[in-house]
Amino acid sequence: MKTKHLERNVFIVLTTVPILMMYIYFYIYPSIRGLYMSLFSWRGLSLVNMRFIGLNNFRTLAQDRVFHTALYNNLYIFFFSSIIIFVFAFFFAVLLSRDTLREKHVYRTIFFFPVAVPMVVVGIISLSVYRQIGILNTLLEMIGLGHWQQMWFADSSLVKPSIISFLVWKVFGFYMILNLAAIQNIPNELYESAVIDGANAVQQTFKITLPLIWEVVRIQLVFFIISSFAAAFELIFSTTRGGPDRASEVLVTYLYESAFTHYKFGYGSAIGVVILIITFLIAILLLRTSKKETVEL
C-alpha cells in the first residue's frame, strides 16, 4: 500500500512540477515582470539604467493624445465588430441549424474557412480589395457606381469600417460554428412543446434558443475580446500600420511602436497593463451583468 502511494506521488510530481516550472518561467514570470516594468523608465536594450518612476508612465499615458486615439479606435473596432459578428453569427446559426436549406453543410464549411487563413494573407487580400485600383473600386466602376469609389484604407473616416469588415470576414465563421453547436445541443422536445403551445419561429428563436445559448455566447464574447486585441493588431500591422494619421492606430500597434520602434519599453509595458485592465473589466462586465438571464436546463 505504501509503495503504491509513493508511486502515485512520484507520478504526480514528475508529470506536473517540471512542466509547471517551465510554464511559469517562460510565461507567467514574463507576464508579471511586464506589470513590474510598467513602473520603470529606460530606453534601449540594457536594463542597467532602469529607473523607478512609479505611476508616471500612466500619468503620461493619460495626457498622451495618440494613446487616446488608439484607445478610442480600439473600443470602436471592438464595439462594432462584436455586434456585427455576434448578431449575424446567431441568426446564421439559427437559420443553418434548421432544415431550411439542403446545402447548409456547404455554407458551414465555406464560412468557417477563413479561420484557417493567416492574418498576413487576410491583410494582403484586404489590400487587394481596398487598393485605389483594387477589387472593390473596379467592381463599382463596372456596375456603374463609379462615383462610390473611395480610398478605403487611406481615408481616415473609412479605414476603421474597412478594417472591421475584414476582421468580421476572418472570424465570423468561427463564432457561427460555436453558436450552431450550442443550438444543436438544445433538446428538440423544447421546440416541440413550444409548437404545441402555438409559438412561431420568431418566438421560438427569442424565447428558447437565445436564452438557452446565452451562457455560451457570453463566454464567446469574452474570448472574442481577448483574442481581438491581437487579431486587430496583426491585421492593421500588415495593412495600414495605424494610418492614415493614426486613424487606425489601436492599443497594441501603439504599444509595439513605443516598445520596439522607439525602445520605450516601460511605456510600452504600461500600455500592456491598460490592455490587461480593459480585458478584465470587459470580462467581469460580461460575466456579471448577464448572469441572471441564463436558464438552467
Binding site: F26, P30, I135, L180, V252, L276
Partner: protein
Amino acid sequence: MMQAAIPTDKSGLLRSKVSQEIGRNIFRLICIIYSIIIIFPFIWMFYNSFKTNFEFNQSIWALPETIRWENYVLAIDRANMGVYMLNSLLIVSVAIVLNVGLSAVISYTISRFKFWGSSLIYKLFLAGILMPRILTLIPYFFLIHELGLYNTRFSVIIALVFWGMSFAVFLLTAFFKTLPTALEESARIDGASYFKAFIYIMLPLARSGLITVTIFNFLEFWSTYILPLTLISSDSKKPVALGLMEFSSGVGVRMDYGAMFAASIMSILPLVLLFAFFQKRLISGLTAGSIKQ
C-alpha cells in the same frame, strides 16, 4: 358560414407557404453571396499569381494570357519563400510536438488525480488565457536576450509551446474528464505502472482531443508573425508568415504583385490541405471543447 371560412383559411396557409419559400430563397441568396465574398479573393489571387506586373496593371480582372510559373520561381528564389517555408515547418512541428506532449501529460494528471494544488495549477493555466500576450512579449524579449537565445528559432518555439499551453490544457483537461476511468483502473490492477497506464491506455483514448489541439496549433503557429518579428533578425531563420508580411510591405515599392500572390498561395497551401482533410474534425473538436464547460 363554415364553408366560407375554410377556403380563406386555406389561402392564408398557402400564402404563408409562399412567403416561407421566398424567405428561404432570400437566405440562400445571402449565403451564396457571402460564400463568393469568401472564396473569390483566393481564386483572384490564384489566377493573378500567373500574371506579369504589366498584365496585372493593365487589368486586375483579366485572366492571364499564358500560365507562367515565373512568379513562383521568383517568390522562392528572390523572396526566399522556400527557406521561410522550411523554417516554418521546423518551428511548427517542434512546437506542436512539445506543446501537445507536455500539455497532455499535465492535463492528464490534474484532471485525474486530486492532490494538493491540483486545482491551483488548473487556475494558473486558466489565468494564462486572459493574459494579453503582447504584455508578455516585452519582458520575454529581454528574457530571451538574457538567455542568449535572441535570433534563434528556438526562442519562437519556446513561446509558442508555453504561451499556447494554457489553451491546450484548458481543452485537454475538459477532454480527459469525459473519458471513462474503467480501462485505466483495470490496467492498474493488472500491475501496469501509472506511466504505462497513461501512455498505453489514456493517450490512445485521448487521440481525437490531441488531434484537435494539434490542428488548431498548426493553424495558429503557422500564422504567427509578431513573435518572430521581435525575436528573429536574420532573414535565413524567418518563418513564412513573417517573410510574407515583409515581402508584401515592400511590394508597394517594387510592385511585384504577381510574386506576392504566388507567395501567398504557397503559404496557405498547407493550411488548405489541412482544412480539406480535417474540417469535420476541426468543427466537431471546437464544439466538443466549448460546450461542456
